[in-house]
Subunit: 255 residues, 2 copies
DNA sequence: CCGTTATCACTGGCCTGACCAGTAAGCTCA
DNA sequence: TGAGCTTACTGGTCAGGCCAGTGATAACGG
């Protein structure tokens, strides 16, 4: 085996791919900013020197990737979209669906992410972020009477606020994704089971504890409480013989 | 505002999307398994009752999403691909590029994932998994003389083995994704900077410490060492004023 | 008899040209 | 001035065609 040169595998490059690349790079470079418009398909045909079906294939791919959006009849042409994590959300949903990820794994992962978010938030939060969290808890408190719909929304908002305060957008995005995945797996059960004032009140108390730890700057405590809260909330949906990993995530901070 | 009915927003559904949906669902249901083939484009045209450009748009989208692959001239038709996290890796790379995710956030996230993987592995690992980790370390030891290429590969294999032992495929995939993203951002620097015997020896020692903690079943220690190791390894690539979150992830187990 | 090679039917990649439906700007007219 | 209509574009879809690449199979040579 010669060490002189390293060769990469090659694959035939389709025309539409070249087009996708060019547009992607233009967006990445900032030459095309969200809100701006691409030339019309027929104009792109002349610019790229390809046929309309080919240009359209490229546009469909870009559209599927959330980079642009074509609207039938829009005289301004396809629109450059702002970045969104929807795409990754979809990807992770696919991961869960195809890679037979168990609900135990999902919840375990949520415990990790949420715990870490709380830990970081406790260290890094600003006063403003702190009061943002307080506001979501106030909404939750009000929503106990209003109904589970509102309560759940405020719940999500709280976790979102914590994630923001952790100053790590990956945590934010992943947490959001996993939360969505969990909910989609147990949504109907949750809607009925947790639609009780007592449970909401308990949940609110847990959230308050987390917030208190974050306010106190006690990261480990915030993380521990977050994880425990999630465990208690969701353990019922996990078969008993799969709860080991969840427990393993909790009993480390107190031994 | 009437509470009677909830309406979702609608968008015109393109024909190619219906095709994508149908094929996606067939794969999700398991009617189409990896390795199997789709009918030829012309056959799909008759089955879906759409024109060839439309069918092709659908195939390009599916291809871009990593679900199928068309090969020019292949008489067997497009191939159903096995699930792969490549797509998510690319997505995350895009996230980093467009959503101004800093390298600090990436490394912080890696510390979280890797730490959690070590923690869980310490609790859940089987003897076999333990010896798998040992084997990768042995390869690393050998590779110190061989070169950084081999060493790095074994390094990855070790982390992979730990992730597997954590029994959480989400950790496994995400860690892999983030590792890829980090490397793609600092690849050239690393290739040169760490191509030193002393550094490799040091890295190996760190890995051995982690393994020891995992073998001892000491989750917190394994997690703490993992995180510290990553910090020391990568902190150099993070601007000093962004290292706060990284440090926040470490000083909790020892206070 | 078996391995090699050439054939060929079919594949995907790409193009042309056309028709319809939707959009919004500008015009008309009250 | 403002509401409606016209119109010149847009994207969505189709039919049909050409070329190049692939792989099973048939013909071939040892």
């Amino acid at each position: 085996m010669s060490d002189g040169a390293q060769f990469r595998q090659v694959a035939p490059v389709r025309l539409y791919q070249r087009i996708v690349e060019q547009i992607e790079q233009a967006i990445a470079r900032g030459d095309l900013k969200p809100g701006q418009r691409l030339p019309s398909e027929r104009e792109l045909v002349t610019q790229f020197g390809a046929s309309r079906p080919t240009v359209r294939e490229a546009l469909r791919v870009l559209e599927s990737n959330g980079l642009v959006r074509s609207r039938h009849g829009d005289p301004n042409g396809p629109e450059i979209l702002p970045f969104s994590s929807d795409r990754m959300t979809k990807e992770m949903a696919r991961l869960v669906q195809f890679d037979n990820v168990s609900i135990a794994e999902l919840i375990s992962f949520r415990m990790i992410l949420d715990g870490s978010a709380s830990l970081l938030a406790a260290r890094l939060r600003s006063e403003e972020e702190l009061s943002a969290m307080e506001r979501t808890l106030a909404v939750m408190a009000d929503a106990i009477e209003t109904g589970y719909e509102e309560f759940s929304k405020a719940d999500v908002a709280f976790h979102e606020a914590v994630a923001v305060a952790s100053r790590n957008s990956l945590i934010e995005v992943c947490n959001q994704v996993v939360r969505g995945a969990v909910l989609s797996l147990i949504s109907d059960k949750v809607a009925h089971a947790h639609n009780s004032t007592a449970l909401m009140r308990e949940s609110l108390r847990h959230h308050e504890e987390v917030l208190e730890a974050i306010r106190a700057g006690d990261g480990p405590a915030a993380a521990s409480i977050s994880r425990r809260k999630l465990y208690e909330y969701y353990a019922g949906y996990v078969p008993e013989d799969e709860r080991g990993p969840l427990l393993a995530l909790m009993d480390d901070e107190e031994g």
